[in-house]
Structure formats: C-alpha cells, structure tokens
Symmetry: C2
Subunit: 364 residues, 2 copies
C-alpha cells in the first residue's frame, strides 16, 4: 500500500495531529508538501473551477491531467507548467500508479464513467475525489467504496457545499434547532437545458437527467439542514418535450419524510432557472437564494441576512479539507458514503416517480 505508507511517513514528518500551517516566510518550519492532484476529464467544471481553484489551495496542487484531447493536453500543460510525464490519456491512465507526483485523482468525467475511473484510480493506489453524483446507481457506488477500502485509499464525493460558509450556517441553524426544529423545507435547483447533444441528457451517460445532476443538491440541501436521513420519498416526473427528453424526466418534484417529522418538497428541472433552499420552524424561517450554484450563495432569514464572504472558489476549501484528511488520516467529511446515501435516495425517488408510489428507505 504505497499511499498508506506515504501517508504514514508524512504524518511522522509533520508530527501527528500538528496543525498544518501555511508557509510562513521567516518561520522555522518548511512548508508541508502539497498533495499532487490529477484531474481526470477536462470539461467546463475542471477548466473553469477546479484548475483555477488548485492554484489557491494550501494543501494540494494541480500535478497532472488525464484527457483524451491533445489540444487540451497542450493548453493545460502550457498554462499550468505540467511536466509531460504527468499528462495522461485514457489508455495509459493506469500507469499513474508509478507517478509519485500524483497523490489524488479527481474524477470529473460524465456520470457513467465515475465508477470505472474511481476504481482504476484506487487500484493505482491513489486517493480519489469523484464528482457528484457519485455514480449511476447504488450498486456502482458500493463497488467504488469497496475498491477504495481494499486499496487503502480515501474516497470523497465532490460536495463543495459541505464547506461553503452559508451552507455551514444553514446546517447549524437547522441541526442545532437555533430557531426551533425544522418542520418544512423547500429545496430546488434547475436551469434551462434543452440541447440534446449534452451528455447530461443522455440516460446512458448521465444516468437520468435533472434528478441525477441537480437532484443531489436539492436532496443534500434538505437532509443537510435537517441533519437526518429520509425514511420515505414520493416523486413526480414530467416531460414536456419528448423529442429532447427521450428517456429521462425533464422536471422532477419529490418529497422526503424525515424521522423527526420534517417534510421537504423539492423541484429539479431542466426547463428553467431556480436555485433555492427554504427552511421553516414553528414561527421562523431561513434560507438561501441562490443556494447551490458554484459562484456564491446568499442567505436570508426572518431576522435579516445570513452573510459570509463568498469564497473565491468553493472547491479550494473542499479540496484542502480532503487533502488534510489524507495527510492526517482523519475521516473524510464529504465521503463516498455520503455520495452513496444520495444515490440510494435518488434511486428511491426515481422508483417513486415511475410507480407513483411512496417508497420507504431503510438505513443500516
């Protein structure tokens, strides 16, 4: 287990439990080694968010890329000064196991490729961050978790909002019952997407449209605020344009019942722009709008605004938190298990929509 040994040595070097400090010029300590991250898949999210964010991280850095497009390989190599041996394509990807520059593989591929590349990365001895949704279905998710467990590497799902200050505050307000217990929630995310060429509209690649792509956020927004797992779901699926939405729902509404009595009602859609989280207690309310997008949340509550500085990139803290959990061998917050939970909820939601029935969820 190369990686585990490296972790161990790193922990020895830092002193286990020592706070990881930023570089302090004139200080007596050398800067801790940053973990090398290789991005697999160089689409918009990698290009506009993860690549730039990795220039700002404290405990990790962009070390490599995996792409099937020569022009992207050249552009990224030039922009970020990547050495040729750290640039992979999908055929030679597995040889990354010999590359000591790469500690973490970040899978940013279409959903249908998450399982394969996470498992291959784990087998190469690399820690893995996999974009959301973790996989196409719970069975794939289970295999990914097992592969990482067997390889002794850590797995994270790319839930950037677990580290976003407005979301942390909403979680605090909800789970600590600051204004009383949350009774009802509305969480919604949608945008207009009707280009049939987008992979997200292809069921084989995306796994099911808005509920797979955006549903994760709406589910997260509710269960994160309540701090519980839903025990039952109902759902309604809609298709306005069968020419574009051949075998997936264009809009999906779904309801979750939480064990403490809270009910959430959510909408995810590819028809139009919506981005909201709203939580109510007996006599109070709080929420975010916009809530889930990567460029910044705005919070309001019955008693005023929920205001925090907007991070330059939400992914800075997300990736640093994972790097810290690797370096210190501490539990991962946005864990593969968290991603798997949401896959199970999505599966139940789709089943509820297709059957018209309430679907119960049991958590082991």
């Amino acid at each position: 287990m190369t990686t585990t040994r490296r972790d161990f040595l790193q922990k020895m070097a830092f002193g286990a439990g020592t706070a990881l400090l930023p570089n302090r010029p004139g200080g007596g300590f050398s800067e801790p080694k940053k973990l090398g991250v290789a991005l697999v898949g160089l689409g918009n999210y990698a290009t506009l968010q993860l690549g730039p964010a990795l220039q700002e991280t404290q405990f990790c850095r962009l070390a490599g890329i995996v792409t099937g497009t020569l022009a992207k390989a050249e552009a990224w190599s030039k922009q970020y000064g990547l050495p040729p041996q750290n640039v992979y394509d999908y055929r030679n990807f597995d040889s990354i196991n010999n590359n000591p520059d790469v500690d973490v593989v970040y899978v940013v591929l279409p959903n249908s490729m998450h399982a394969e590349y996470t498992i291959r990365a784990a087998k190469a001895g690399k820690h893995v961050i996999c974009e959301k949704p973790l996989a196409l279905n719970p069975a794939e998710g289970e295999r990914m978790l097992a592969a990482c467990r067997e390889a002794g590497v850590k797995l994270s799902v790319g839930y950037r909002l677990y580290f976003e200050p407005h979301h942390l505050e909403v979680r605090r307000l909800g789970t600590e019952k600051v204004y009383g217990a949350v009774k009802m929630l509305e969480t919604s995310l949608g945008f207009s997407m009707a280009d049939p060429k987008v992979w997200r509209l292809n069921k084989a690649l995306g796994g099911g449209g808005a509920i797979m792509d955006l549903g994760v956020y709406a589910i997260q927004g509710a269960r994160w605020t309540v701090g519980e797992l839903p025990v039952a779901v109902t759902a309604q699926g809609y298709v306005r344009d069968r020419a574009v939405f051949k075998d997936i729902f264009e809009t999906m509404a779904f309801q979750m019942e939480f064990p403490g009595g809270a009910i959430s009602n959510s909408t995810t859609t590819y028809t139009s722009y919506v981005d909201r989280l709203h939580a109510t207690t007996d006599y109070r309310w709080f929420g975010l709008q916009p809530a889930f997008n990567a460029t910044g949340a705005t919070g309001t509550a019955f008693n005023g605004k929920i205001e925090f500085p907007t991070p330059k990139f939400q992914q800075i803290r997300q990736m640093d938190a994972f790097a810290e959990s690797v370096l210190r061998d501490t539990p991962v917050l946005a864990s593969g298990e968290e991603g798997l939970v949401d896959l199970k909820i999505i599966e139940a939601i789709v089943r509820a929509a297709e059957s018209g029935r309430r679907v119960e969820l049991a958590w082991g």
Copy 2:
C-alpha cells in the same frame, strides 16, 4: 327581484357606464350612494380586517352585522354606530330581505356554513361576498352559484389578492410572458396551528385543514400567475400529530400541471410559517415573499424588487370592486365561478393525496 330593480334604478341615477367618482367638494354631483354591507360572523377576520376596511371603502359601507353573541352585537353597534334594526342574529337573519340598508351580505363564517348563509342571503335578495374557500366541496359551490343566479344577485368569493398590486404585477409578468413563459412555480403557505379547538382543525367545520384554508392561496398563486387552469394534479398528505390532526392532513404538498407545460409544486402546512410564490422562466425568475398574507406582500425578481405601496387593507379594493360591479352590473372579477374552480382543484388534490394517484381535471 328587489335588488335587481334597485340596481337598475341606481344605474339610471348615475348614468350607465359613468365613472363612479369620489365625493368632490364643490363639484356638481352628489356622492353616489354607498352600498350597505352586512357582515355575517364576527370573528378575527371581520373584526381586524373587514370592519376597519369598510371605514375606508368608496362604494360600500358597513351597514349591518349578523352575530349570535350579544356582547359582539353591542360592541360593534357602539363602535360603528349601527342602528338596532341592522343588527341580526342567526335566527332572524332571513328577515334581512326587508332591510333596504343592506345591499350586500358578506359571509365570514366557518367554511361549513358558507353554503347555507350564501343561499339564504341570495334568497333574501342580497348580493353576496363569501369568504374563501367558497364552500366545503364543489357540489355546495354549484348550489350557491345556482341560488345566486336564480335570485338575480351577484356572488363573489373573498379573494382579496385579485386586487393586490404585487399580485397584479406577478399576474402581468406571468400571463404576458414579460420574461418568457412561466415553466415552473413554487407557491407555499403555512403557519403553526396545533390548537385542536380551532374550527379549522375540525373536518366537519373546516372541510379539511391546511389544504382548504391555505391551499386556496397556493393554488391561486400558481394558476393566477400562469393564467391557465390545471389539467392534472398529484398530492401528498402528511400528519405528524394524530392527536391533533385526527382526520385531516397537517401538511400537504401538491403539484399542478398546466396545459401550456408549466408545473407548479406547492406546500401547505399547519406545522410552520411559510408564505411564498416563486415563478421561473427559461432564464429569469420573479416572486413574492411574503406572498399571501393580508398585511402585505414583498416582491423580488432576477432584476430587482417588485415594489408597490402596500394597501392599508387589501379588502378595501376587493369590496369596492365588487360594489362597482353591482352598481354597474358588470362581471365580478373574484367571482363565485373562480371560487368553484378552486374547490374542484382542492377536491382533486385531496383525491390524489388519498389515492396516491395523478388526478386529471377537465374544464367545461
């Protein structure tokens, strides 16, 4: 048809189609006669909203009351200077037919009494405003409409928001597709009400809890913004506390499908405070929060605020509009038919929640 004859004479006096002008000191015209309104049922809504609002109306005035409580009769008579012959109880109510001071009866009773008192008022030759929901079910509503039609009197349902400036603007934005066609809506209304003694929690009196009481607003908010009638509904009912919510749903989520393709997703609840309307088009959004309460709406949109002066009482314009439609014999905007439409939608929603099935609606 006493009332119809009086209408006719009034129209003659004003000149048909003449604008009804407020009293202008020094002007050449005498002030048009204000229609006399008798309030039936002196609960909170009559006491805190309708009574005070009738002091500000231009085309109607508080002329009488109907109450079974002597103390209320005395207090109101004193406060508003009502002559004894205009104060009724529920036994002598029908003798109101002989009272030329009363042109309009406003029914503000528990839902279960709407049909009876609307029909008795119509038989007494009086125009009727009936609070929402119009009745317990569509069959009752049909009988009310028939009774008013037979008596030649006008019927209105107490939809104060048909006259509220923020709602008028939202209707304009939606129906005129100012930012494109509305694709998705969320409309929600709830507050915390767990006192089992409240008539609204008694199925026989209230007709079904939050969906009857608050659902009307959530339904209205969506269909008013889209400008269409829903063609199908799904719904989910929840009860957290069976001791209090014996035979009604405490929370109800429901979805409406509109013929133009818009989908609404709504929540009504007695668990907690929520009061919102949110509409989305392809790339834009607009909404109200608070939306439906009687004390004032606040509007926001993607491009800023939707701001209008808050009326002192929304019911001023509501009652004046009805008075004008009586005086001019023009169609009633917040008509009994509108109230009946919502009863049909509510019935379908309850059927959908109880059966777990999608219920289609056909409009004649």
